[in-house]
Symmetry: C2
Subunit: 349 residues, 2 copies
């Protein structure tokens, strides 16, 4: 397979992007990598160009730029050229650690949506840290921020896109799909989530287990957590922030403590390491804009080589599973059903 890489996107680009690509290449001799960016900069860090080609891009989209304007103005940017190469069929997938909005805009306007999918959902994998026996050790959440305002049909589509991802990438045979809501009872929620609950409960192709609350996500409340991009973003960032704060609290408690605390910390080093590791969901790879014609993966702006490598491994899994063509087929086969839902929601208003 062939992957297009925005070598200039991210806080540590191009150094860590290049290093991550080389780590990936060393493990995957069957992948071809095309790095888009400022050739001289990339060459500074590239040790061995086996299976790696560089394509010059004269411009760079910065983190703070307004996304749609950036991709329209900077046609020669690494991000735009990388996305364009996927649209042209030269590459199979697109990876960037750059400006999230610009990656989404490039995905939407250059690579394009799957026919029948109204909006892509930003999809991330998080750890299940207190799950029951037999559960997966990861769950999926979408949308965590591609869309600020969502309609019932968008969340409905996220549910079955999430199902395909969980089956193909997380290897969960019959994923439990839950709707993130403000209570578990079926009648809970705002107008949007009440409508979505009805739609999901009526779909017999989904293993819909009802509403789930954000308090239970890390306990494995569902394998696929469906949410609107505004709430999902708040929940994801709350989980991140709390995990980081607690790790810092432990660290400070120990740093500010006496010899006793420091000895205790030394003895518990493995335990702390494993906790930090379990909470660090970026090790599973980046977030995927699910609903586009090709895999578009965005990793954290602060991504280092290891995360870039893991994101590329995730892309390989997605590509080899054929999940996107399966999704295209599913949407084609169910177009009448999706149209009917769009109509029924419209008429209820």
């Amino acid at each position: 397979m062939k992957i297009a890489i925005d070598a200039m996107g991210g806080d540590y680009a191009p150094k860590e992007i290049v290093a991550g690509v080389e780590l990936s290449r060393d493990e995957n001799p069957d992948i071809q990598y095309e790095l888009f960016g400022i050739t001289d900069e990339i060459k500074k860090y590239l040790k061995n160009d086996q299976n790696i080609v560089i394509t010059q891009a004269d411009e760079v989209i910065e983190m703070g730029e307004e996304p749609v304007r950036a991709i329209r103005k900077k046609k020669q940017s690494s991000l735009v050229l990388a996305a364009q190469s996927v649209s042209d069929g030269k590459n199979d997938a697109f990876f960037s650690a750059g400006n999230t909005g610009a990656v989404l805009a490039a995905g939407l306007f250059i690579i394009g949506r799957i026919k029948g999918i109204d909006r892509p959902g930003l999809t991330t994998t998080l750890p299940i840290v207190n799950g029951k026996p037999g559960m997966s050790d990861k769950f999926l959440m979408l949308d965590v921020g591609a869309n600020a305002d969502s309609k019932p049909l968008n969340l409905y589509q996220f549910a079955f896109m999430g199902k395909y991802y969980a089956q193909n990438v997380l290897n969960i045979e019959n994923p439990r799909v839950g709707l993130l809501n403000n209570g578990t009872e079926p009648d809970k929620g705002d107008m949007l989530h009440k409508e979505v609950h009805e739609l999901l409960a009526a779909n017999k192709d989904l293993n819909f287990i009802g509403n789930v609350e954000s308090r239970e996500l890390l306990n494995g409340a569902a394998d696929v957590v469906v949410t609107d991009g505004f709430t999902g973003n708040a929940a994801l960032k709350s989980i991140e922030g709390t995990a980081l704060s607690m790790l810092r609290l432990i660290k400070h408690g120990i740093t500010d403590g006496g010899l006793r605390d420091k000895m205790g910390a030394l003895l518990l080093k493995n335990v702390f390491g494993s906790i930090a590791d379990q909470m660090d969901y970026s090790k599973y790879g980046g977030a995927m804009f699910l609903g586009l014609k090709a895999p578009v993966i965005k990793s954290h702006g602060a991504s280092k080589a290891e995360i870039v490598k893991n994101s590329l491994a995730q892309i390989k899994t997605i590509h080899e599973s054929g999940m996107i063509s399966d999704l295209v087929d599913y949407v084609n086969d169910h177009q009448a059903e999706l149209d009917a839902i769009k109509e029924s929601v419209k008429n209820r208003k």
Copy 2:
């Protein structure tokens, strides 16, 4: 002052409610407590009835009951009679650890809203665990779940109600008010939050610091975090769930570990205790339905005596600060402004 207490609400009622009231009474000889509930049940646990009277209530509203129906049907319930006593002027404030929806419904329909406030906001206090020097060690968040669907004016009102609470109860002179959003830039958010940002930025009585992200809440991003009840609920429960999961991870890591891990844990006992303590926001008391004519405080269903005592201390602070009458005055003085906002938002649609 006089406090009406729903002695039958909560998982450990009436035992822990009665015990908490006695702890509070021992510290506050100037408070009169009226316990509403099944007299025989309450008497089983009441050791000393000094400053405590019991009023018989024949019915109990259960946790799972539909709130509005419950308060309409069970007129002789402890929850309804306690709220009624505040409405009748016999008590100054209402406390319950029972059915949250029923407490809200009793607050709305029996005690009533402050004139000019459209919807109350459920207000909770959370710890700032990694704040900067000079910051408060707590912040306020509202609405965390009183309303599933919100309008821009609701959030605008939450902002100045939160300001009064932070000043009067947390003793923060000029509280920094932030809007929970999906990014810090002023143009971020869904339609609702974009409108609210404009309204708050235009209010010169508020120290509005702009948008804040949920990742930064525990780092002290703002003293008053304004949010809609759906998103706020998801953020609060994510923080709770993550903190609990991490404490459990540490505990399991140690339990499943060898002698080395157990020794380390023993040495770090104080550090872990202080972390659990810092993350346990219920120690600050219950959540308040801010915007009602009297203090209405709801603590966790699982509240034990210590939390009941702390919630009663919180009620005393609120009462003595006179914040509710200050709020009434502010709304009266600014009614024209609030009406104008309501009109302007309507016209924009």
